[in-house]
């Protein structure tokens, strides 16, 4: 059974159609990255799953439970973090977590241990008696994550968890999410920070103007888009014969001479990186540097989207 299933979801705010027929499935234990420009419909989709929207058509399920029919059951299964902190600034970290422990009806005898555990996990144990108001943005975000985890939900719905954070806080949040991934949680995460998602997500969905424009693993999407891999090489022996030989390698689209290197555009479906390396060696080119460029999500994103909103 999938942890999250959405089937032909449509949401409108008055005349504005925010979501226009999104369908997706997230198997258990997967991390699904939701990418799209502002106003694309990411937060709206997440809100439907979090039982915070009532007017929509289509179906949404969490662990096979219909969100519209059994929202109370769904709330037990999910941990939702909105794109703002949602913290009570007049409480301390301990009071804040106990507040939600009580709201989730965690037995009193277990609460202290649970709160200690989530604080440990989010590395906030030293700040347990600090006022929430006095915490930094990164700490508040981690506290919000601790709150999400307090009832040990199966599915985490995280809406822009790293937005507005400094690089250190962002890395900390990313590491925390990796840890949660390791714990087997199913995570649906929306973000603008694309390269971070690429390191974390097993699947991504790119949404624009309320429609899903691409979905699958990163490799599948690269393949769908027929993106070429750029390999940077520095050669000891640069002669016309060698360059012609490179151009003649099956799968090489072009060879561009730059100041100190060559940029080879390669169709990976025809020739792998390893095969290219072997072919260069056979040509006797004298390889000084061989650096395949990481395929970045930004290229994918820019190729797939036009910056439209719903």
């Amino acid at each position: 059974m999938n942890a999250v299933t959405i089937d032909d979801l449509r949401v409108s705010y008055g005349k504005v159609k925010a979501v226009r027929g999104i369908s997706l499935e997230i198997p258990r234990g997967e991390v699904f990255g939701f990418i799209g420009p502002n106003g694309a419909g990411k937060s709206t989709t997440i809100k439907v799953l979090a039982t915070l929207l009532t007017r929509y058509s289509g179906k949404a399920f969490i662990n096979g439970i219909d969100v519209s029919k059994k929202p109370f059951h769904v709330r037990e299964k999910i941990g939702y973090m909105p794109d703002f902190f949602g913290v009570y600034e007049d409480l301390t970290a301990r009071e804040y977590l106990h507040f939600f422990a009580a709201a989730y009806r965690i037995p009193i005898g277990r609460r202290k241990a649970v709160v200690d555990d989530v604080l440990e996990l989010t590395d906030l144990k030293e700040k347990i008696d600090a006022s929430v108001e006095a915490l930094s943005r990164g700490m508040k975000q981690r506290l919000a994550l601790a709150r999400v985890l307090i009832h040990d939900p199966d599915v985490l719905l995280l809406d822009e968890p790293a937005s507005g954070l400094d690089p250190r806080a962002r890395i900390e949040v990313r590491e925390l999410l990796k840890e949660l991934k390791g714990m087997g949680k199913t995570i649906l995460i929306s973000s603008h920070i694309l390269h971070e998602l690429s390191q974390l997500c097993t699947q991504i969905g790119i949404i624009e103007a309320g429609k899903m424009v691409a979905q699958g693993s990163l490799d599948e999407i690269y393949e769908q888009l027929k993106l070429l891999r750029v390999v940077h090489v520095q050669l000891g022996e640069v002669s016309n014969g060698v360059i012609d030989g490179i151009r003649a390698i099956h799968g090489v689209e072009s060879v561009e001479q730059q100041v100190d290197r060559f940029a080879i555009r390669l169709e990976e479906a025809k020739t792998s990186i390893e095969q290219l390396h072997a072919a260069l060696y056979e040509l006797g080119a004298g390889i000084r540097m061989f650096q395949p460029e990481a395929m970045d999500m930004e290229t994918v994103f820019m190729k797939l989207t036009e910056g439209k909103t719903a």
Binding site: L52, P71, F72, H73, G86, L91, H98, F99, A102, R105
Partner: protein
């Protein structure tokens, strides 16, 4: 000849006027004001001129009385609407974090203030212009000199300027619109009542109508001067208080007081503890929302409310003791004033607090987080109300003190209750019983009613400010609702006079019936000869009034709870099957644990 180019623009004023023109509520308010004004004008024509349809020319020359009534209507419009319109002028910019951006432009702070002032003053004056046809009508009746018209217009203008400047000053001072809203009205009442208000206004336009234009001009100098001082202060506050953090001074003061008391207790009383604190209060057990409302907010935490009550009660008792040496008449009048003041403050606090319950969660973006927990919406709303219930209890104590003190005084001295026509009418012996009964009914019925109106509005409103303002407006409208029946009474009387020659005073008493369903009933029958219009026995009227508002309160509460999912904005679906069982288990486990301890 080449004329020098003059670059003159008022971008902020343009933006303010465009924004207001795009809002539906601008037109709704104007239409409502016009409707009320024309109905009041109609009533004034009939009542002040003793209009006789068989002799319509008899009204000629009686324009002056009508003119004064219309001016009072204009003042009422200014005092009621202008502070609400102006109080958000600067605070909204602070709340949206756009004030800093305005400072970065070439607009000088004084220009920002003037454009903001004009942006509020112009729509108000436009609204007042709606009364122009009525004023023209009164002028045509005769009895009003042209200089009177100019004098009246001038006083209306300077009053509008003064009120707008005062509200702008509050807006520049406050951090939030709600604070500016409360500050504006309280300062306005204080200024009007305490300072020059009565004397200047009396001279200028209250008695005998507006004097000649020059007299009105010189009489209005204090008003203009106070307005200018408010503007100057607003200019100072605009910069100094542009980025005021939430210092929570009252909370810090109480915390400091706590520590001081503990120190004194340790030092002088060896740490004696009279009331042992419940350790479970430190962290929430089963009702987290209620826990936060009753331990973490100033107007909900018992210890803070207790101190506030003490801080009010001690001076109040002192004032009452001082008054006991005065004549019965002046004492009774003073207590009536204090009682009305206590009611106003209580109503204001309860309405603002209850309206802010949910709206504040929305504004602070904590509502969504609360809504994804498995707590039912009814449970959340119910727990939220617990702090307000405590506030109602605390707010009722000074009122009960005043009521009991006055009743006790009259019971023991067997003096007639001079300040009240009605009390004289029904006799001093039964007067205080009626007074006690009606006052206690008011406390038991109206406070929960105000709370539930605030809750309902707060559930629907997107911001705290809107929730507070709409709640107060709704309560005000409910209080004055019987007035709309007065024109029908008069129309009925006029028809009766024409057809059967009945005297004009014999109306249909519809407004008398209507008053039974207004919270103002108790106030009216206690302090005016209004009881004569009541179609039923006053005791019955009070009982009917109490029953009506109790039912209305229950209805509102039931509606809030029934529609809580929809109003809060979450999916409802099934009922929560887990919670009740779980809660019972938890409760019994806790009781077992406590008994073991």
């Amino acid at each position: 000849m080449i004329w020098p180019r003059v670059h003159f623009s008022l971008p902020l004023l343009g933006k303010e006027l465009t924004e207001q023109a795009a809002k539906r509520r601008t037109y709704v308010l104007r239409s409502l004001y016009a409707a009320c004004a024309f109905i009041a004008g109609y009533v004034a024509v009939i009542t002040t001129t003793q209009y006789d349809p068989r002799n319509p020319f008899a009204v000629l020359g009686q324009g002056r009385l009508l003119f004064e009534t219309l001016l009072k209507l204009e003042f009422a419009g200014i005092y009621l609407f202008l502070p609400a319109m102006t109080c958000g002028a600067i605070t909204v910019e602070k709340e949206r974090n756009t004030l800093g951006l305005l400072f970065l432009t070439r607009l000088r702070p004084s220009a920002i203030l003037m454009e903001k002032l004009l942006g509020r003053l112009l729509p108000m004056l436009m609204t007042l212009l709606l009364l122009l046809p009525l004023l023209a009508f009164t002028y045509s009746l005769g009895g009003v000199a042209t200089s009177d018209v100019w004098a009246g217009m001038w006083i209306v203008f300077v009053t509008a300027f003064q009120v707008a400047a005062l509200s702008l000053m509050c807006s520049a001072w406050s951090r939030t619109t709600v604070g500016a809203f409360l500050g504006s009205y309280l300062l306005m009442v204080a200024l009007f009542a305490v300072a020059y208000g009565p004397s200047v206004l009396k001279d200028a336009y209250a008695v005998g109508g507006p004097g000649p234009a020059t007299t009105a001009f010189f009489s209005s100098m204090p008003i203009l001067l106070s307005g200018a001082i408010c503007l100057l202060l607003a200019r100072v506050f605009l910069i100094r208080r542009a980025y005021v953090p939430n210092k929570k001074r009252l909370l810090k003061f109480f915390s400091w007081l706590d520590q001081t008391f503990h120190k004194w207790n340790d030092r002088y009383a060896r740490g004696i503890i009279l009331v042992k604190e419940n350790p479970s209060q430190h962290l929430p057990e089963f009702a987290p929302v209620s826990w936060r409302e009753t331990t973490k907010t100033i107007l909900g935490a018992f210890r803070y409310l207790f101190r506030m009550v003490i801080a009010i009660e001690i001076p109040l008792m002192f004032v009452l003791a001082m008054l006991s040496g005065q004549s019965v008449r002046s004492m009774s009048t003073a207590v009536d004033v204090l009682l009305n003041l206590a009611w106003m403050i209580a109503a204001l606090l309860i309405s603002v607090k209850s309206a802010s319950l949910i709206a504040s969660e929305r504004v602070r973006e904590t509502l969504d987080v609360l809504l994804v927990t498995p707590m039912t919406s009814q449970n959340i709303v119910d727990q939220k109300l617990r702090g307000v219930r405590r506030l109602m209890g605390a707010a009722s104590i000074p009122i009960i003190t005043l009521i009991c003190w006055q009743s006790f005084w009259f019971m023991t001295t067997s003096q007639p209750m001079y300040s009240s026509t009605f009390r004289r009418f029904i006799g001093s012996e039964t007067g205080y019983w009626f007074f006690l009964f009606s006052s206690l009914v008011a406390i038991c019925v109206y406070m929960p009613f105000i709370c539930n109106v605030g809750l309902y509005v707060g559930l629907r409103a997107r911001t705290q400010t809107r929730a507070a303002i709409v709640t107060i407006a709704v309560l005000f409208a409910i209080c004055l609702s019987p007035l709309i029946l007065i024109p029908l009474d008069i129309a009925w009387a006029v028809v009766a006079q024409v057809s059967i020659g009945a005297p004009l005073a014999s109306g249909s008493h519809l407004s008398g019936f209507g008053a039974i369903f207004s919270p103002l009933l108790l106030f009216l029958i206690d302090t005016s000869p209004y009881y004569q219009l009541l179609p039923v026995n006053p005791w019955l009227a009070v009982i009917a009034n109490g029953a009506f508002f109790s039912i209305a309160t229950r209805f509102l509460r039931a509606r809030c709870l029934k529609r809580s999912d929809e109003l809060l904005g979450r999916a409802s679906g099934d009922i929560n099957p887990v919670i009740d069982v779980f809660e019972n288990d938890m409760q019994s486990a806790l009781e077992a644990q406590r008994s073991a301890v």
